[in-house]
Symmetry: C2
Subunit: 434 residues, 2 copies
């Protein structure tokens, strides 16, 4: 007897859409933490988030069908938080703390849906904007990126035969497992998955997360993806992102307020969260400037997440700052998350091991490394540098400088003003690969 | 809605046996060609075939459960040629020839079943013998080997988790495909699958064959496995094996008949088959002796399959013999099939390319290369050197010398007599890895 599930096959005959976003928890944890604060402190701020493809050589509008993209974006707008998800958010502890999310916030989430989007094609690229209340537009960042990246993967694999697909995924699995075996050689490794936004696809990210859980045990501390954290009984990892200082800076009424904006944001954050959540991003407008003017109380925070400078100099710079403030770096945490892969994790681990608490957020090179995996060796699966950034707040342009000018975003005149206010110290261009 | 095939899951709950041999066509093609001749010329010869594990360090009886082994052997004895299979044998052309198998042979096959077996445990190994008419015992060789090898694979994988299994097969697929890509660099390659007897398992052999078909196109000329040839619309490949000269030698009444036995067998073969089937095995009792005394008419045959000497000297020896007989080697065929892998295929190809027609039979290292594939790196999946040889004919011990004394089989006194009759010229011990 041959077993065939005829009902399933018949359903497949009429297959319409394989939704990419099936849950509003399929996002990064820091989005929810930031959202709770935004809703409390800045409920009336309006922002625009925009898609920015830094890999201009990949013409996304030539690769991804517009109707498919609209169908996926439209489908994401129909998704709601389910009861099970809200109960889990209410009942689970995060970073050891019960009731991280307040009842009124959860009640508000129950009615949440993603707001409208604006989509145009221009010069082979998509212009994709989300304008409206910050409390809603912020939630588009991760699903929008996940949708575009997965549609690109699907397009790259559309014409492959069953066999080529089988070899492609077999190689990708073998490749990831070889990385896992190298990482096992680092006994005090602390690693988490930060790969949602740039993933090859949801199912592949799930496989990667399960691989790390199986292969690294306790050294894999969790995932930034809230849905996967819930489903795989892992910790949800993440704190805050550049959008907080960027919006604060954009809303500043003068240069003095602009210079103080990065610290004002951290004070707001401290009022909302504490403990392990006290992690600061130092690089929104340049790490050197940030540290030079940082208030002393910041030395009491858990740590920093350098996100755009090369890891070793960035870490040394911060350690020197801690030492200048009389703090033992071994009591502090550095989280590295900018384009890490096994080589740079190993180097950074060995460089800092024993001198500071270390943690790695592994993103694109974890969940989207299909380089040299397709049997015909095409490059359509290579990851691209795609971001979705806040571009304005209450009508004022938003800017990010970062430590790497190649990652700067925003209006050129505003960038010039920010450079004047924060200075250029320590800014060094480097190629942006992912 | 979650799709689950409840009927299938329920069947699986009561799962009893996953049969390894499900078709009598799941054997090597040369078995059928030899069988037709044996039935015609030697219907009354009785033989014993016996399992020989040359990798004595692997204690098979400690690895494979005896009840499981008996269940698989018993199941194989229930299998019959199906109507579809007999119709395909009758209707398909082999080596370009219609009706390779006569109607009376096919009618006889319809009633065929594998004969009884005798199984004992001794010193951590299995003694497994098949005694009876040559027309029946010969057919046990391949299924017996396939059963033992697959039961060993299953035992090695029994305690692995789902994830370890996934990584193991992903790595094996990636490994094989890397080999395929190297072989693609050989434009005039002629390759076939000879890996049934030593395969990891049936499903894995099928994947390997499909991989070669997909990856090598016309350079993959077919498989020795008749079932896979039928199912994948490939050529069935193979001619004859050592058991023919071994039985002829065992039945010789004196040393003169023994010395002539290898050539008598080839005359019988020529009467039955011709064309591409005129391939001689030169090494049953040493290639040097074989060629020294070979009749001139053998130079008219299609070619040789050297099967136990290192490929390059073995080929050179045969080419010199052809040239001494005034034959252009470019009109002749050499088939290499002894423990080949990509390295030795490449070396042999480049050495002989343009000087002789070349073909490779790729066996164990095609269908059972799981070295370094299991996540915990154990060696239980490494292939072993297991054979099933004719050990007696009509009560007389059967002997194989081969070019490599490490591959010799048979009664020591008889081996000494054979060495006296055929000489030791050119015999050189070499490690037997697969």
């Amino acid at each position: 007897m041959t077993f065939t599930d005829i009902a399933r096959r018949t359903y497949d005959h009429n297959f319409r859409l394989d939704p990419i976003v099936r849950s509003l928890l399929d996002t990064d944890f820091y989005k929810l933490l930031m959202l709770q604060m935004i809703r409390h402190v800045h409920p009336d701020v309006a922002t625009t988030f925009s898609l920015i493809n830094r890999t201009t050589s990949v013409r996304l509008a030539d690769v991804i069908d517009e109707a498919e993209l609209r169908a996926q974006l439209d489908h994401a707008r129909t998704v709601r938080f389910t009861k099970k998800e809200l109960i889990w958010l209410a009942g689970n502890s995060f970073y050891g703390r019960q009731q991280m999310f307040g009842p009124d916030f959860l009640a508000w989430l129950a009615d949440f849906r993603l707001p409208e989007y604006e989509l145009h094609r221009r010069d082979g690229q998509y212009e994709l904007h989300f304008a409206g209340p910050w409390t809603h537009t912020t939630m588009w960042e991760i699903p929008a990126l996940a949708i575009i990246n997965e549609l690109r993967s699907r397009a790259a694999l559309r014409d492959k035969g069953k066999f080529a697909l089988d070899v492609t995924f077999a190689r990708a699995k073998a490749k990831l497992w070889n990385k896992v075996e190298r990482l096992r050689a680092l006994p005090d490794l602390v690693l988490s998955d930060f790969g949602t936004r740039r993933r090859h696809g949801f199912l592949w990210q799930r496989w990667c997360v399960e691989a790390l859980k199986e292969g690294l045990g306790d050294r894999f501390i969790g995932t930034s993806n809230v849905l996967l954290a819930m489903d795989a009984d892992l910790e949800a990892i993440g704190t805050n992102a550049h959008e907080l200082p960027m919006v604060a800076a954009a809303l500043s009424r003068n240069d003095a307020e602009l210079a103080a904006a990065p610290y004002r944001v951290l004070e707001e954050w401290r009022q909302h969260y504490n403990g392990n959540l006290l992690i600061a991003l130092p690089d929104a407008f340049g790490t050197a400037a940030f540290l030079r003017n940082a208030p002393d109380w910041l030395a009491g925070w858990t740590g920093f997440r350098p996100d755009s400078a090369p890891p070793i100099p960035a870490g040394e710079q911060i350690i020197a700052w801690w030492q200048a403030h009389g703090v033992d770096p071994r009591q502090r945490l550095l989280i590295f998350s900018d384009g890490m892969d096994v080589d740079s994790i190993e180097r950074t681990y060995h460089h800092f091991h024993g001198r500071v608490r270390l943690s790695f957020g592994w993103g694109t090179n974890l969940t989207n490394d299909f380089r040299d995996c397709a049997p015909d060796g095409d490059s359509a699966l290579e990851p691209i540098s795609l971001v979705c950034k806040v571009t304005s707040a209450n009508g004022h342009p938003a800017v990010k400088l970062s430590d790497n000018p190649a990652k700067a975003t925003g209006d050129p005149a505003e960038i010039a003003r920010y450079l004047r206010v924060f200075g250029r110290e320590g800014l060094a261009p480097a190629p942006v690969t992912v």
